[in-house]
Symmetry: C2
């Protein structure tokens, strides 16, 4: 893990930030100014490195500027639970950064070499907040609302009792999000099983049955839904 103070490095990611929900509606120059005011830091992680670990106290709101992260948790017996996959431009850690005495409950690991930008939440509440900060707070609010909905959606999926119900619900949601019955999912089989909270082999068997029944087709992570809503 390499620390890099605000400086040249950050400029490389201005264009990335402009695409994010957090900095939506800001011009390049405004983002640069905001980043300076927020005292934004850049950190790089190699593939496999841990960004945050369970029980750690988080003090910064983070944005992924490059790479891929996975939010997950392993229990004492090695059972893994996958919570979410973080892509470029997504915010993470914000819910725990805003309450300093609440430790993080998951692990965040880098699936690829990744770059993380982060800043302390205290800058958002400065009394002399300017227009940019106001915009930032508003964007963060929307971003947290979206994450809230995502978590509620995942709870919904996991609440189903059978593997088939979980699969159909998850795939339906993905299909709707993609706006097509033909779509790709961001997980391999083991990760999907860990996301749904089921056994991988049982899930593979169920997927096979559903294919044989003509409900769907798949190859690797690409799915086609037929009779599923």
């Amino acid at each position: 893990m390499y620390f890099q103070q605000k400086g040249e490095k950050l400029k490389k990611y201005i264009s990335v930030l402009q695409q994010t929900a957090l900095f939506a509606g800001m011009a390049d120059s405004e983002i640069e100014a905001a980043a300076a005011r927020l005292n934004m830091r850049t950190q790089t992680y190699e593939r496999g490195e841990t960004v945050y670990h369970s029980d750690q106290f988080i003090r910064a709101i983070s944005i992924l500027a490059a790479g891929q992260l996975m939010i997950q948790k392993d229990d004492y017996w090695g059972n893994r639970s996958v919570v979410n996959r973080i892509g470029v431009g997504e915010v993470f850690g914000e819910a725990f950064a805003m309450q300093e005495d609440e430790p993080f409950i998951h692990d965040v690991i880098a699936l690829e070499d990744s770059v993380v930008l982060s800043f302390g939440p205290e800058h958002l509440f400065a009394p002399d907040a300017d227009k940019l900060t106001k915009r930032l707070v508003q964007n963060l609010l929307c971003s947290m609302a979206a994450k809230n909905r995502m978590l509620a959606q995942k709870i919904d999926i996991m609440a189903h009792r059978t593997t088939r119900e979980k699969l159909t619900d998850y795939l339906s949601v993905q299909s709707r999000r993609a706006g097509s019955a033909h779509f790709s999912i961001p997980y391999n089989r083991q990760q999907l099983a860990d996301y749904l909270g089921v056994d991988r082999s049982a899930m593979c068997t169920e997927l096979g049955k559903m294919r044989d029944e003509g409900l769907l087709a798949f190859h690797k992570c690409v799915f086609d839904l037929y009779d599923i809503a």
Copy 2:
């Protein structure tokens, strides 16, 4: 369901609002002013009534001023999933109010006669935001962060594979929150089973086993943990 425009009724709940996370740090007069500016509405619901239903588009951020609500969802076969219980002072619906085209995915029902205060989120983003609004946005941010953590915690609990693991995890969390090994839970057996996503009878059996093994004791909704962390 009775609608009551801002007016006398609202004043009765100023003292309630002062205790909430959303209006924390505001004086009575400030809350009254904020409520007027937000165009806050009062609605009452009788026990058993539906406050919001699945697939509905939510346009207001709501606060429970009196009573008890349950956030849940029933599937096609009558299986119920309990998401959360809302007590006086808690905010709900905010995540879906902030994105108008995202329909609600749960039902909110009144467990008792209840009073709900609500306001449109557009007031939070008015360009001429004063100090009170700024404070409100900040409080909402913290409130959503807390809900975010709560949802993540629930996902964690539901991710466990066995009924015993879910029970142990849930009870441990409740015990920690209560700050004591002796505590009460807000659900009866059926509701707890629906919250954990397991069968009620199987859960009762498992609870009985755990009692026989000396791990805990319980009477109704009051639990005592012994050997559980």
